[in-house]
Subunit: 187 residues, 2 copies
DNA sequence: CGCGACGTTGATTTGCCTCAACGATTGTGG
DNA sequence: CCACAATCGTTGAGGCAAATCAACGTCGCG
């Protein structure tokens, strides 16, 4: 799937409109383990991942804490930095070679004027992100770490193959040792 | 603060436009401990709390698990039920007498056509909700339950006065006993 | 080949839960 | 207006899930 089909899941868009949309985007390629956004920098863009994988994390008393992964056809940014003009607390870093479209804050506003349905598109994207966040919360509150791990690998098998185990552990809020012990118990 | 000033924080709106906006809303009053939305029902509205307090919760092996509180000047709904037309998994219930504006799914779409900046307003509202969610996640992953409690009562003193301790415990994902023990340790 | 990154395994510790018993407060019916 | 129950909060004993710490195995890469 490409960006056009991604957009079409949420709003109708003609070929001309799509041309207009992409005229506000820039493209960029990253190697594996490159930082797209670093702590202390202001975030100026929304990123659409054409192909690849990134992790969104910070440091908690010396340890990495991963909050999100994002892969092909996801939008990601640090909304707090982008919208409140704050230095970022987090790092967005590729875990594999990754190609993105970048939509700058300024171009986003211009795009909304040029193509008003952009507002609707992003409103819907945010609503879907909210629903995913709510499910994450239910997951965190209601399941033990072991249950979370089992559910996660069940529902996200593609992730499990793409990122190392210690990153999954961090994302799930547990230690790598604990994941290892669950795995040995399973087989 | 009223709804008009709430809206003005995010988009410009004239008196006429505000009239138009409110013409799509209905009002409703609830007593304390009334359900605004129940498990199994489809959610058809976005709710704006004019005055009052509600909790958003479900049951986890017999126990209430509170995910959110919402008070004066917050929008709340079950997005999963509303947008995906699913029976709700959660309950939204008042904790005190509460007045709300209701915006039905259908009226929301009509309002977006009549007043396109509604899209922008709700896009921004959702982005701010996303930021709050992200902070919640950092809170959950990086702090012990004791630290979470202390930070929470520091930053949300108005909540602490409005809802009983066992609801705070549920929201924070701990037992009422544990909160009690922290409190006795503090003074 | 040798080193560093990643994963495994076991012993010990700890944060929070569970269960049970007991105050304090509120509200409701006799 | 009092008695009683129900609800909410407190306190302590014991238990468990997951962390911590340390040692070791393994694999890929310079």
């Amino acid at each position: 799937m490409d960006l056009k089909n991604y957009i079409k899941r949420y709003v109708e868009i003609s070929d001309d409109e799509y041309e207009l949309f992409t005229s506000f985007l820039t493209q960029k390629s990253f190697k594996a383990k490159e930082k797209i956004l670093d702590i202390g920098n202001r975030c100026h863009h929304r990123f659409y991942i054409k192909k690849g994988c990134v992790r969104f994390f910070s440091y908690n008393k010396g340890n990495e804490q991963i909050y999100h992964f994002a892969i092909d056809n996801w939008w990601i940014t640090d909304y707090n930095s982008l919208l409140n003009n704050r230095p970022s607390n987090i790092i967005i870093e590729t875990t594999e070679p990754t190609e993105v479209y970048m939509l700058s804050k300024q171009n986003f506003e211009l795009l909304c004027l040029a193509l008003p349905k952009t507002e609707r598109l992003f409103r819907i994207i945010m609503e879907r992100a909210y629903i995913a966040f709510q499910k994450r919360l239910e997951f965190l509150y209601n399941l033990t770490s072991e249950e979370q791990y089992k559910d996660f690998i069940q529902d996200n098998s593609e992730f499990v193959q793409r990122v190392p185990q210690y990153m999954l552990a961090s994302y799930l809020g547990v230690t790598p040792e604990f994941i290892s012990k669950i795995r040995s118990k399973i087989e």
